[in-house]
Amino acid sequence: MTDASVEVEHGGAAHVAHFEGDLDIATVPALQREVLAGTDGARIVVLDLSDVGWLDSSGLRLLDDLARTYEARGAAVRVVAPADVPARFTLDISAWRPELVVGRMSDALAG
C-alpha cells in the first residue's frame, strides 16, 4: 500500500508544505486537496520534497497544478529538493521548471 502525507506549517510569511512518502496516482489526489486547503491565502508557498520517496509524472502533474494555482493568486512558489533525494531525479530528468527548484530550505525561504 502506498503511503503519503503532507503537513503544512505556517512560519512568518511563508506556508511550508512538507511532503512525505510516495507521490504517485495512488496518493496525489488526496494530497492535492489537503495542500490547497492548508495554504489558502498564503503569500509564499514552499513545497518541500526532501522526504518524498517517489515522484513520478503524476507527482509532476500535482506540482504543475499547485504552481499554476498559486501563481494565478499572485503567490510565490518554491520547490525544495536536495541533490540526493529521489524527487530530484524526477525533477532533473523532466527539467521541471528549474527556476522554482532549490536545493535547500534556507534558499527557498530567502525567496
Binding site: D22, I25, W54, D56, S57
Partner: protein, 639 residues
Amino acid sequence: MLSAVEETAEELYEDAPCGYMSSLPDGTIVKVNRTFLRWTGLERDEVVGRPIASVFSPASRLYFEVHAARQLELEGAVHGLALEVDAQRGSTLPVMIDAAVKRDADGRPRLVRTTFFDATERTAYERELLAARRGEQAARERMALLAEIGLGLDEVRTLPQRAQRLAELLVPAAARAAWVDVGDERTEEPEAMAVSDSTALEPLLSARRRLPAPAAPLFHADVALLPLRVRDRVLGVLGMVGIPEAFAGDTVFLADLAARAATALENARLYDHERSVAHALQHSLLAADLPTDPRLALAPRYRSGVASLEVGGDWYDAFELAPGRIGICVGDVVARGLEAATTMGQLRSALRALAAAELGPAGVLTRLDAFAEQVPRGRMATVAYAELDLGDGGLRFAFAGHPPPLLVAPDGDVSLLEGGRSAPLGAARTTRPEAEVTLAPGTRLLFYTDGLIDRRGRSLERGLTRLLEETGRRRAESASRLADALIEAMLPREPHDDVCVLAVGFGAGTRFDRELGARAEELAPLRDELRAWLTGNAVVGHDRDALVFAASEAVTNAIEHAYRDVAAGLVWVSARMGDDGILLRVTDHGRWRPPGEVEDRGRGLLLLDKLMDDIDVDHEAGTTVTMRKHVTAPTRPRT
C-alpha cells in the same frame, strides 16, 4: 314476554358450546366469544388485537402457520385441524378448528371466522390408538434411524457441517422439513436446514423466526420443537415439520434423537472453538515481521487444514542474525490444537534466542534438544534451520527430523539440500551434524512442513518425488510464485493438515516477472520488488532509478488510460538481465489511447524515451511497451 326466556343472538354467540373467533386477513384477532375465554382463562383484551397464530402453543403454532394459513389462502377454508391452544398458567387445551374466509362484494378477503371445538377426549383416544400401533417394527425403524444419524454425524467435524448433516439425515426419513437454530438469536436463516418439499419453505421460515426458544420439547401432531440440550446448556433448537406417522407423537424417541444430536453438535462446537483458538495463537506468532534485504526475497505461505485438529503446530520464521546474515527456520510440533500452538511458540522463541548466540545451525539444534526436553510435547518436534550469508551466498544448515528443503539453482536444476540431517528434537544422542553449500545468485530455496508432501495413504518418499517433479516444471519461477504454484499443485482443495511453506529467493535471479492488478496501490510494492531485483543483479544508482521509473510510468499509463473504463484489469511487468543490459516489458490488455486523446499523456512517454536506450510501443491487442537499457554495472552481483 318471549324475549325474557329467549336468548339473544349475542348471548348465543358468546356462550355457544364452541369457541368463536374473528380475525382480519392479516391474522389480527378482532372478536372472540366468552366460551373461548372461559376455556383458556384469558381476558378479552388479552386476546383481541393479537395475531391468531399466537393463541396456539409453539409447536401447534408452527403447524397452524405451515398447514392452515397456506390452505386458507389457497382454498378459503380449513376443516378439522387438530391444534393446541395456550391457556392460562402454562396449561394447554387440545382443540379442533374449522376456519373460513369471509369475502366482501368484490371477492376480497374481509374476515376469517374460526370455530374451536374442545378436543380433549378425542386426543386421548388418538393417543391410545397411536400407542397400540407402536410395534416391534416401528422400534426397529427407530433404532436404524438413530444409528444412521450417529454414523452420518461422525463423518463431519465442524459445527456448521454437523448441523447441516443432521438436517439432511432427518429429511425425508423423519420429517418433511428439519432445521437447526444455534444460540438464542433467531437469525434470518437457520444455521442449517433441509426440506423435501420446497413449497413448505416460506411459511416455515417465517413461522420459525417468531417462535420462542422452547425450554422443553414441544410436540404437536407432525411438528416437534426440540431444545438441543447438553447437561445444563441449551445449544439451540432442532425443529421438525411433517414427521411421518410412524414417528409422530413418539415423544420419547424424538427426545432421544434430539439428545444424541445435541451431544454431537456440542462436540463439534468444542472442536471448532479449540481449532480457532489454536489458529489465532499460531497466526499471532507467524505475523511477526520478516527481514527485508534487496538480495533476499521471502515468501511465507500458510494453509490451515480444513477438518482436523492437526493444527497449530507448524511454523516458519526468518530473522536477521547480523547485518547481511539471515536465520531461516521451518518446524512442526507433534501435538494437536492449543497444546501444539503453545509448544510451537516456545520452540520458536527458543530457537531465535539460541540463534542470536551465534552457535551455528548444528549448535542451535543441539541446544534446542535440551530445551525441547523441558517443554510438554517438545520432544519429537522437527525443525529445519539454516543460516544464509547474503554477502557470499554461504548457506549452513541442519535438519532435526525434518524433510530436506529444496534448492532450485539459477539454471533450473532442482535438488534436495544434502547432509545436515539428524533425528527429531529430543531424540539425538550426540552433537548434531550440519552441512554447507554456496548459493549462486538466482537460487531459490523451498522450506516446508510435511503437510506439503504427506497426503494420507501415500508415502513420504512418493510425496517428495512428486514435489521435485512439480518444482521442476516451475524452475523459472520467482520464490513467491513458486510457493503459490506448489501449494496449488501439491495440496488437495481442502487439505487435511496444516502446511507451512517458506520460499526464499537469493540474489534475485536473471528474470523478474510480476502480474499485478491495474490499481494505483499496486505501484509502490512493484517498485520495491523491481528495485530489489535490480539491486540483486548489481544494477544500482542512476540506472536502477531510471528502470524503476520507466516501469512505474508504463504501469501508471495502463492504470490511468488503458483500463480507465475497466474496474479490474491486469498488468504484466517483466525484466530480463541480458548481456548488453536490461530488457523491460510492460503489457496490458486494455484499450490503447493515442497520446493526443488524453491530456498530459505525453509527458510520461517523453520521460521514458529520455531514460531508456530504446522504446517500442506495440498496441495490437492491448499495449506492450518494450524498453531496453544498457547498464554500466557488471551483470553478476557480488554485493
